[in-house]
Assembly symmetry: D2
Homo-oligomer: 350 residues x 4
C-alpha cells in the first residue's frame, strides 16, 4: 500500500494478553503507524483471531515468536511481556529500536528498591538507568529523545496524576498520603489464576496486597522526586467486580495555609490544555464508568469533614490511560506524532 509507506512500522511483543489486544484496538484508529509484527511464543503460527476472537477479521499479521521478527524495518516496539523476563528480552533487541515497555521491569530506577520488591538483582541495570518513566503529562520533554520508556503501572498513574503537582507545590503533607484504590479485574492479566475467576470476584469486594503491593514503591518514587526527599505512602488496592477501571480515593492533609481552592488551582494549571486529564467541576465526583474505553483521567476534589483534610478522587481505565493508551500516548510523544492519534475513542457508557 502506498499509504503505509508513510506509516511507521511497529511491533507488539506479547500480543496475546489484554494489554496487547488493547493496543490493537487503539492502533486500529491510528493513521501514523502500521503493525509489522505480533509475537506470542506459545501461540506462534496462529492468527490473532485464534486467541482473541474479537480481532478476527482485522488485517493483522499472524503471531510469531520474537526470534522470527524481522526488526530491520521496525522502528518502535511495544513490549507486553511478563515482569521479570522482559529485561532480558529487551537487552537483546537491536539498538535502533525504540521501546515502550508495559511491564514493571524498568519502572523503578533504584537498583536496591527493585531488588527488594522483585526478589532478584536487575539483569539489565544499564537499561534500567536509561529508561524514562513515562507518565506522559509529567515527563513529556524527556520523551522525544528517549529510547526506552517504562510505561507506568495503572495504580501509579491514577495516584501520581493528582498528587505530583500538589506535592511539587508543597500544598499537601507528603508524609500523610493515603491512597485507597479500587481496580477492575483486567489489571490481573489473562493468565488463569484462582483469584481472577469470575466466581471468586463477582458479588464481592476485598482489599489485597495490603501494604505489600509492588505499585507502592513506584508511587513513592514519583512523589519522592516531586518532594525532593524520600516519601512513603499508604497504598491499599481493592479488587472490584468489573472488567475495567481504577478509582483512586486519596486522603491528604493541607499544609502551609493552603486551601482546597489552592489545590484546585494547582491542578487546573498543571493540566491546562492537556487532552486527556480533566479536573471535574466543583461538586462533581469522577466515576470509572465515565472513562471506560477512553484515555481520560478525571480528577475531583472535595473538602473533608476533618478540618485541614482534602479528598482527591481520580478515575482512569486501567487498560487505556493505565496501560496501552498511555503507551500509545508515549509513542506519539517519542515519535513527534500528534499526541491524540489513536486515542480519540470516546468513553463507552453505559
Amino acid at each position: 500500500m502506498n499509504a503505509s509507506d508513510h506509516r511507521i512500522k511497529i511491533a507488539i511483543l506479547g500480543a496475546s494478553g489484554y494489554t496487547g489486544a488493547e493496543l490493537l484496538r487503539l492502533l486500529a484508529g491510528h493513521r501514523g503507524v502500521e503493525i509489522g509484527a505480533l509475537t506470542a511464543d506459545r501461540h506462534a503460527g496462529k492468527p490473532i483471531g485464534a486467541v482473541f476472537p474479537h480481532l478476527a477479521g482485522r488485517a493483522l499479521p499472524d503471531l510469531v515468536t520474537i526470534d522470527e521478527v524481522d526488526f530491520a524495518s521496525v522502528q518502535l516496539v511495544f513490549c507486553c511481556l511478563p515482569h521479570g523476563t522482559t529485561q532480558e528480552v529487551i537487552a537483546t533487541l537491536p539498538h535502533h529500536l525504540r521501546i515502550v515497555d508495559l511491564s514493571a521491569d524498568f519502572r523503578l530506577a533504584d537498583v536496591e528498591t527493585y531488588a527488594k520488591w522483585y526478589g532478584h538483582a536487575h539483569r539489565a541495570p544499564a537499561l534500567q538507568h536509561e529508561a524514562v518513566y513515562g507518565i506522559t503529562e509529567l515527563v513529556r520533554p524527556a520523551l522525544g529523545n528517549a529510547r526506552l520508556v517504562a510505561n507506568p503501572g495503572c495504580y501509579p498513574t491514577a495516584a501520581q496524576l493528582p498528587l505530583v503537582p500538589l506535592v511539587r507545590a508543597g500544598q499537601i503533607d507528603a508524609d500523610d498520603i493515603i491512597i485507597d484504590a479500587k481496580s477492575g479485574v483486567t489489571g490481573a492479566g489473562r493468565e488463569p489464576t484462582q483469584t481472577s475467576l469470575f466466581a471468586e470476584v463477582a458479588e464481592g469486594i476485598a482489599a489485597y496486597g495490603v501494604a505489600g503491593h509492588r505499585h507502592a514503591p513506584e508511587i513513592d518514587q514519583g512523589l519522592s522526586v516531586a518532594a525532593g526527599r524520600q516519601i512513603t505512602v499508604n497504598f491499599t488496592p481493592h479488587l472490584v467486580p468489573m472488567n475495567r477501571g481504577i478509582l483512586a480515593t486519596i486522603y491528604v492533609r493541607l499544609t502551609n495555609g493552603a486551601s482546597i481552592a489552592d489545590l484546585r488551582r494547582t491542578l487546573t494549571t498543571a493540566y491546562d490544555g492537556e487532552p486527556f486529564v480533566r479536573i471535574v467541576a466543583e461538586g462533581g465526583v469522577p466515576a470509572t464508568q465515565h472513562v471506560r474505553g477512553s484515555n481520560l483521567c478525571l480528577i475531583g476534589l472535595a473538602a473533608d469533614r476533618i478540618r485541614g483534610r482534602v479528598i482527591l478522587v481520580a478515575a482512569i481505565d486501567n487498560l487505556v490511560k493505565g496501560a496501552s493508551g498511555q503507551a500509545v500516548q508515549n509513542m506519539n510523544a517519542m515519535l513527534g506524532l500528534p499526541e491524540t492519534s489513536g486515542l480519540q475513542q470516546q468513553p463507552l457508557f453505559p
Copy 2:
C-alpha cells in the same frame, strides 16, 4: 470552523437517553456531520454533561426543547423519543428534514397489527405508510430516497440478519423458527423502573414478555416479506446481567434437502463484502463480548443433534447495530456518505 461548512448538520431529539448518548459517542468520530441541536424537554437549558457526565468536556450544544430548535439549517434528525409520542412529534417536523426514527412507532407497516400490539390506532398513518424499515443490509437501495427510516428494534435486527436470507432461499421451514434471545439491560432504557434495578437483575437470568413481546410482530413482518406469506415465529427474550449485547440463538429446520453447508453458503453470499456482518468460521460461536461497542453482527451456524435441524447464533451490541449504530449506518446510506463513517470503533474486549 471552515471544516464544518462541509458538514451536514443533524439534530438529535431525545438526547438524554442511552440511544442518544450512543449516537453522540459514534458521531464524535464522523467527519461528515455536525451536531446542530440536542433536545431533552425535561432537561432543557442544561449542558449535556449534566445528564451524561461522560460527555462533559465535549464541544456540544446545550439541551433545548424541540420547539427551540432552528431546523432551517438541519438536514437530518435522529429521533430517540419514547414509543407512542414519537409519531405525533414527527408529524409536525418541517418537511425538508430527513428522519431516522429509533422508536418503534414506524416499524410495523400494517395499521391493524400496530393497533393490536400498541393498543391504539396509529396517529400518523400516512407517515407509517411512507416509512422504510431499515435493516441497512437488507434495504440499502431504498434508503437513498427515503425521507423517514424506521430504525429496527434490537432483537429484530439480531433475528432477521441471519434469518431473512435463509427464508428467502427457502432453505428453512419458516413455520418452525424458534428464537431464544438474550439481552443486556440497556435495552430497557434509562427510565427508572423496578425491573431494571441492579439488585433485581444482577446474579440472575429470566425470561420475560414470553409470547407477548412487541418485537415479535416486527420479526414476523420481516420474515413474512421474505417468505411471501404470513409467518409467525417463536420469540422468547431473556434479561441477562450485563449492560450491552444481544445473543439470538435460533433453532431452525432444514427444508427441501438443504444442508447446513447450503445455509452457510447462502449467508456468506448474502453478506459478502458487507463491512459489519461476519459469518463466523466453522466451529466458532459468536459471543456478545466480541462485538461490544462496535457495529458488528456476528453469525454462526452449528448442526443440531436432532437430524434436520440447525442452530444459528447471532451476536450484536444492542446499542450499536441494534440501535444507534444502525441509525448512523442508515443515515450514511440516506445521505450517500461512506457507510462506515462514524462506525469504525473496534470491539471493546474485555
Copy 3:
C-alpha cells in the same frame, strides 16, 4: 398450630422492601417467633409472592395496610418504613408493642444534629430520647428493657464494630480516622431511581455523598460516646457493582505508644465469645464474599507503610448484620431469646 402457641407474634411494617424480605428469609429459620402481619400500603390485599416471587409458596399472611393490623396479639414490630415518615407511624403504635426500627429516624440522639442532617425538626422527640441505638454487641445490657431500638445503619455498623473498642481504649487518634467504605447496591433500597439502575452501576465504581452522607453523623455519635468528647470522622462511601456487602477500609493513627498487636488484643478481647464478630487471623484480609447472606462481621488489621498508622478492614452483609440480621439479633436480645436464633445461615460462597 400448637407449636405456634409458644411462639412470639411479630409484625413487619413495610414488608415490600429489601429489608422486609430479608427479615422473612431469616425468620423462616427462627423457631421462637411467628409472623402475624405484613404491611405494605401500596400493595395491600396482595400475597407477598406478588411483590417478591421468591417468597411465593411460603405460608405467610397477605399484605395489609398498617390500619388493618390487629396489634393486640403482636408483641414486637419490625419497622421497615422510609426515613422521615417512620417517626409519625411509630408514635401512633399501641404502647405494649416493642419496636425494632430499621429506618434512620431514631438513630441520632441529638435533636439539632437530626434537624441539620434530615432537614426538619424531629416529630417524635420523646421517642427519639427513649430509643436505644442498637449495635447489639456494644449495647446488649440495655436491650433487655428497651421498648424502641434504633437499628443502626449499614455503614455505621461496619465502622463502629472495629472502631469503638479502639477509641474506648484510647489506642488510636480519634481525630484522624478515615473510613473509606464500599457498598453493594441493595443499600439504596427497592425504589426505582436512575442511580440504582443496572446500566448506571455495572462495570464501574464511584464515590458518592462525599463528606455529606447521613451515616457520617451516626458514626460521629458512636465514636464521640466512646471517646467522651466530640469526634468528627472522614467517611467516604462508594457504590460497587454487587448486590450485597459492605467493606470498610479504615485508616487510623496509633497513640500513646500503642502497637498493632495492642489493637489486635483489644479487639480480640472485646469480641471474645461473640457469635457474629470475628477477628481475622494475622495476614488475612476480610472480603464481603465471605460474609454474604450471614450475620457475620469480619475484622482484619494490617500495619500501614506509614509508620504509626494501621489499616482496619471490616466486612459485613449490608442486608444482614447491616440491617435485618442485626434487627433479629436485637429482637432476640430484647426478648431474651438465644441470640443466634434465626441467624445461623452460613455465608453463601460463591
Copy 4:
C-alpha cells in the same frame, strides 16, 4: 458431644471445590449428620479455612488425603472428585460405605455411550451398572437400598424435572425437544481456566459446547427411559455472567391433542407434595434469582405463538438442586432421614 452420638458420620472426598464447600454450607444446618472427614489431596494438612476463608471459624476437621481417612466409623461418602478419576477411587472404597457421587462418572448407564462421550472405556463397569441415577423426585423408591447414587448433572436436573413427566405422559413430541439452557459460572468449577476468568465472562453471553456438551447424552438417557425408546434432544448451553443459577427454556410440541392445560395438570400432579419442586402460577415465569441458594426447582409454562407449541421454563441453583443440594436430598432418602433436613435455606434475594 453427646448430640453427635446419634449423628451419622459422613465424609466429603474432594472438599476444596465449590460443590464441597456447598455441601458444608448445607450440612451446617443438618442435625442428623456429622462431618467426619474432609479430603483434598493437594491441600492435605491445612484447615478448610485456608482454601475457603468463608468456612474459617467452623468446627470442621482439617483436610487430609483419602488414604488418611479412617472410614470405619463413616457411613456415607460424598464424592466431589474430578470426572474420570472418580471411578477408580470409588472402586477402592470399603464396601460398607454408601456413596453419593457428584462427578459424571456413573451417570451414563450405557458403556458405549460413556466411552463415546468421555473418550475411554469405563474403569469400573460393575459399579456403573449398580449406580442409581438420582433425580430424587423421579427415583425416590430406589434410593433406600442404593449403595451408589450418581448425582445428576446440573443441566440434566433442570431439563428432566419438567420433561420426564410430560414425555411419560406422551403429551409432547419427544423427537422435537429444544433445550436452550443458561448457566452461571460456578458450574465450571474452581480450577483456573481462561474461559472462567472474570474478564472473559463478565459483560457478555455466549453459547458453548453447541451440540457437543456431555450433559446431552445424560438428558437423552433420562428421556429415553421415560419414552421407552431412544430420544435425542437439542441441548444448547450458554454461559451467563453470574455465579449461580440455571435457567432452561425448553421448546416442545404438543401431541395427541394435548393442551397446555394438560401439561400443567401433568406437572402439578407429578410434583404434588414435593417440597422442592414448584409449578409457577399461570402468567408467572421462573427466574434464577428466585431460587438462589435454595434447593428449589421452579417450573413455568407458557403457550407459544406457534400453534401447537409450548414453552417450559425451569430454574434451579446449579450448586444446590443442581449439585450439592440434590446430593443431600439423595443422602436423606438413602438414609431414611427427613428429606428436607439440611435443605431449608430460603432463596437469597437479592
